[in-house]
Symmetry: C2
Subunit: 413 residues, 2 copies
């Protein structure tokens, strides 16, 4: 073991500053809640410095540790797997009600739970989904400014680069994260301003078209995704209900909107593995009827997939559809990250479960009933999976039934 | 820098097991909330394993980091110093209402904040005291089983052993903690059973005497501490209101009870430095009249001391008096730990602020008003400081005014 291989501390600092200034656009006197793997401490410390420099009230990091997670699967009594620290999620919900901003750092080993009993994994996921409703709702409603970035943890890096040493693997993943997050550029904050403008051009065009549906065609895929009434396409920066324009995801290459929960028909198969809370789900094939998944299988992780679909009624319906060209920088890196934050930006995708109520015209200031009446889905889950590739075409269907090419061979038409 | 100097992982594991089995006496299906410095992760991981083996529901560690704390003092805007994450404290209070057990690991650098602006330190302490009321109340009322242990962090160790290398200092502090916590003994759990029995013999004798007051005499000290009506002496194991017999402090060498908030008279000076939330307060001298501190000074940290006394009305009155012989193992180690958990077990002491409502006859199941009527003090602070040494004598004053020797030259008479 040697210690010479060090991550680029300058890039870590630039990522921290980008998260505070562009990701969150933290305002003076705003509190900040961070969730982070304990391994990302060097990044968290830099974020705290930049947050306080930006005028933060109090910054509260909540750390998680994979060994603590595993201790439960290895030693707990059976009833433990239905329990969740609901007091913590409820408290977070209250923090958001007081205008606390939210930063999530992801980076745990995507395969952490792959050798644990899938039934127990499913039970824990369900208990956490129920308990975390107060926090999830406030995020999907965009009550406050939020942002997700990532940390190159060693265990994640070793999944991506199994043949490299721990330090080399971590270094490579770090460089991939810095590049995808644009912190390797001269001025990351300007680079994001330009990138946001480019995404806005795409979403403006789609909003002008006001399609009633998108058709996806390709090997194994023949899918019509009806769009919600009064849906709005979004991408890059978002205005939260507290008036702050944040960038929820770093990186982000997608434009996305709300499908109609009752109007999805046909077959679709996944084009990249889905890493869901520690289990890899590969080669998903599902059939939709009237918006609902009526058949589902996968070559790996099927038990977890079926548990996910049974989470609640809305788990079998779509809450998001997103377009990403095959030429996106993350796709071109050729890397499979086993992490949705990255992989969803390498391909067009759909999401099971809860819709973003913000993806409606007029800023999405709609009641729960109005969202439902317009076709917005609700669920305690929101899980993205990739259906795009360089073999996929997408047509937009206009309100008068005309087909307009949107993607050809995975690129904007 | 070298890595050869490793802490004894076997002792870390024994300390973790002792905290779960003897400190908390965690019950099956009980949830556990841990607060810990991020540096104590190796101990937290072992605690999680032992907690789940003992049948824990869900174990939730909340980590703190000194660099995160310092970032605020170094970079935050002025208004930040009156803000506290009240949502987190409120959530913890709710966890305790659901019978969640509480384990605190202490180990931060006792001088962490010594170079920061004492006014800002005072403001943060006050904001945290106010916000943490829901958690503090439930702990002082003994609603649930709780326990405090410690981790030999490098920064703390370097304060105690400034001339040693980081690794040697940490190793020495670790060995001192293992010894004081009795995990260096053949069977730590049996050792604690015997130790608890010995402390009970002392508290039983004091309860049989039912003194109306204690008189402390020595250099600079002439203090009469009236005891609360119906006070009860305790020590070692305590029965929490949830019915679980826990050992709140590891180590613990004291027997203690509730003074009468209105009946403390005379002068007293501290015999060891008080390390209070990052500031060292040395050579405290105070004068009591009718239970209230009317004069206070100290040779170091006086500004912080005076801020503490102005926290609220009850901060100038006593909430605890405790007897510890000068021959206690911690005293005999000759080490100054700059940490109340250890230093309070090296000498008799008093505490400013909130009383333990449990220290009354019949298990202390009293209302707030009853506690007050019997002389129990209330405050948002509870700060122990040492007044015992081998030069201090203590007399008990019986209900009919007789003087009975309790301590002579710092030892049980």
């Amino acid at each position: 073991m040697h210690n010479e291989f060090e991550l680029d501390t300058n890039s870590i600092d630039r990522l921290a500053e980008l998260a505070v200034r562009t990701g969150l656009a933290l305002e003076p006197e705003q509190d900040l809640l961070i969730t982070a793997p304990v391994e990302s401490l060097p990044l968290v410390r830099r974020i705290c410095i930049h947050a306080y420099k930006a005028g933060a009230g109090v910054v509260t990091p909540i750390f998680t540790d994979p060994e603590v997670t595993l201790a439960r699967y290895q030693h707990a009594i059976d009833s433990s797997f239905d329990v969740s620290p609901s007091w913590l999620f409820k408290g977070m919900g209250e923090a958001f009600d007081s205008n606390t901003a939210r930063l999530a750092i992801v980076g745990d080993d995507p395969m952490l739970l792959s050798e644990q009993d899938p039934k127990k994994v499913g039970r824990v996921n369900k208990a956490n989904s129920l308990a975390s409703k107060p926090t999830r709702e406030r995020i999907t409603r965009f009550d406050i400014n939020w942002n997700i970035i990532s940390w190159p943890s060693v265990s994640w890096a070793k999944r991506m680069f199994p043949d490299l040493s721990e330090f080399e693997a971590q270094y490579n993943l770090a460089e991939a994260i810095f590049s995808a997050s644009r912190v390797d550029q001269e001025d990351p904050i300007s680079a994001w301003r330009e990138h946001n403008a480019a995404l806005r051009t795409r979403s403006d065009w789609l909003n002008g078209q006001n399609f009633q549906a998108l058709h996806f065609f390709g090997p194994g895929t023949n899918l019509s995704v009806g769009l919600a009434d009064g849906h709005e396409w979004m991408g890059g920066a978002s205005i939260a209900k507290n008036g702050i324009t944040c960038n929820p995801n770093i990186p982000s290459e997608e434009v996305f909107t709300t499908p109609h929960a009752l109007k999805v028909e046909g077959h679709v198969c996944s084009t990249k593995p889905l890493s869901h809370q520690g289990t890899l789900i590969e080669e998903i094939k599902v059939k939709f009827e009237s918006g609902r998944i009526v058949e589902a299988r996968s070559s790996k992780g099927e038990e977890v997939l079926l548990k996910v679909l049974d989470s609640d009624e809305g788990a079998r319906r779509l809450g998001e559809v997103a377009l990403v060209p095959h030429s996106s920088p993350i796709s071109q890196s050729g890397l499979l990250f086993y992490n949705t934050l990255f992989d969803e930006n390498a391909a067009s995708h759909i999401a099971l479960g809860q819709c973003y109520s913000k993806c409606f015209q007029n800023g999405g200031d709609l009641s729960k009933e109005e969202v439902e009446n317009r076709g917005g889905n609700s669920s305690m889950i929101h899980i993205d999976w990739m259906i795009g590739s360089n073999q996929i075409d997408v047509d937009g269907i206009s309100q008068d039934g005309k087909k307009i090419p949107v993607f050809r061979k995975g690129e904007w038409a």
